[in-house]
Symmetry: C2
């Protein structure tokens, strides 16, 4: 558990409070909403988005937990709602080892619960009164999330080797969201523009590294570690950086292309595709790219930041590139 | 076409401008978003929600179209996004005689486009800077919409005879949305609280009448008129006011209950159910209830409202109860 480390003492109490706020936010007089929301909150997650936001708020001089909490909650709710819709789209039965909302309550209720949770996030933010700029950033990040998923969805089983499009897709899916968390924290803390820009860049860079690492783990890890079978992306027709690289450089690229464009691929095909990618320089290239983003993220941190806060940012960055699940 | 009548000269130009604003709002550098959005806008609709909003803005002294338009656009976008998700949920192939987004682009892209359009609505509102109160009302109405659909979805094929629950469901699905359109218009126009409350009540009442009439048309109309086969609600297991009434008062209520609780009902079963409802006092009772709401709506209008504006409100109310499609 990343945030259990004592480097994160600065936000430990906030993250404890957050769990209660999340449960409160999904509690409704309509019991089905409460049941689904509570299930989602209790299914866990790293809480990376609110943690980044809270750390950015702590970067300012006068931390005010009451003021920060509704937006921290909203950021995790938006992430949660997007996962609920992703699971409907992917027909996923489990996430992080627990049953998905669509598996437990059906697609219809899952789509509607996702809509409810998105709207609830905006409710919390509007009621606290952060102003239109904060609301605009939140709305923009959901637009980005949806576009990222639409691009991904449009390209399945096409073995598209367009690396700039891969980066655009993961920026929209992940990096812009983490950038927004840092930016929002800096805004709420009233930091000067130089800090806002720096933290936004940091968030973007670790977001890119995070998604590249996620895509790598899909190939190099196993069901026990990541809660879904290895090669899940390949099976769903999604080609990620290591696969795109292997399609360009592997001597077996034709065979790889035949597999990843086949909607009826078997699990043996997936295993063979993984072997081809692992034998290529795709894994190494993606790892190097993730490391570059991590280095950029650290370099973006302002020199005059307090050591305590800077250490937390650096630790998060290191965790993101090194994580095994 | 309701708003072609000369009573609505006051908002005619606004509604013309709205069509362009809707197209602009769904235009994205991601072509799939533009294609889906344009298809949805061109599929038409009554534009009842922005019309109510705009009429309420005109109720004030100084109408400012530039200020009003982003919120008018956002209200129609929210309605549009909710229909996109409804069509995914109902597996609907057509709406108003044109193919649905899920039919043309698949469920996955339809869910994501709905998310995008919801978020785009919040973007427009935040960028114009209406403030947190407006954003809170918008977020609240999406929460209501989702809860209304979740309640409906939970109760399918149960022949639930709970009339208060029927009213709660249609309030959340429809009436609270129309109430919010009127309230938001009154807020943007800077009207005094007495006017805001009156217009909100008017919107709620016509919303209740609107949904009851919709539910009636599902039983009394035909595919040619309403663009879907009669008895569509019954077929999907949704019992509406005339059916609930017939379940209570018809001598054939046992037969009706057997049909409406059967997930495998045939189209002949649906026809028989319609005949039972038509032979009961269910239609008359629902019509009376809709008329009562229309009368309440008109009575809610402030006495000192300008005759021109009042006539538009009255004409909308009359249209809602009398409409045939």
């Amino acid at each position: 558990m990343l945030f259990q480390n004592k480097t994160f003492n600065v936000i430990r109490k906030d993250l404890d409070v957050l769990e209660g706020e999340l449960i409160a936010a999904v509690s409704s007089h309509e019991r089905l909403i409460t049941d689904i929301g509570t299930h989602l909150v209790k299914s866990g997650g790293k809480r990376l988005r609110p943690a980044l936001f809270l750390l950015a708020v702590h970067t300012g001089a006068d931390f005010n937990r009451e003021k920060a909490m509704p937006l921290a909650t909203a950021l995790e709710l938006i992430h949660m709602a997007s996962l609920v819709h992703d699971d409907v789209i992917d027909h996923a039965d489990t996430r992080r080892g627990t049953p998905t909302a669509n598996y437990k309550w059906g697609n219809q209720t899952a789509v509607l619960s996702g809509d409810y949770i998105f709207a609830k996030a905006f409710s919390l933010v509007a009621e606290e009164g952060y102003g239109d700029k904060v609301a605009a950033i939140l709305a923009g990040l959901i637009c980005d999330l949806s576009i990222g998923e639409i691009i991904q969805n449009r390209e399945v089983y096409k073995a598209s080797c367009d690396i700039p499009e891969y980066y655009e897709r993961i920026a929209r899916k992940t990096a812009n969201f983490l950038a927004a968390c840092c930016e929002l924290g800096a805004l709420v803390a009233g930091l000067e523009q130089r800090y806002i820009d720096a933290l936004k860049t940091y968030g973007y860079d670790i977001g890119m590294a995070f998604q590249i690492t996620d895509d790598l783990l899909d190939i190099t890890s196993d069901k026990k570690t990541i809660g879904k079978p290895a090669g899940n992306d390949i099976h769903e027709g999604i080609v990620t950086l290591p696969v795109i690289r292997a399609l360009e450089t592997s001597p077996d690229s034709d065979e790889l292309r035949t597999i990843v464009t086949n909607r009826d691929m078997t699990m043996d095909d997936v295993k063979r595709a993984i072997d081809i990618v692992k034998a290529s320089d795709g894994i190494m290239m993606a790892k190097r790219k993730a490391s570059e983003y991590i280095a950029d993220a650290k370099a973006a941190l302002p020199d005059d930041m307090s050591e305590k806060i800077a250490n937390s940012y650096i630790r998060i960055a290191d965790y993101i590139a090194d994580r095994k699940s």
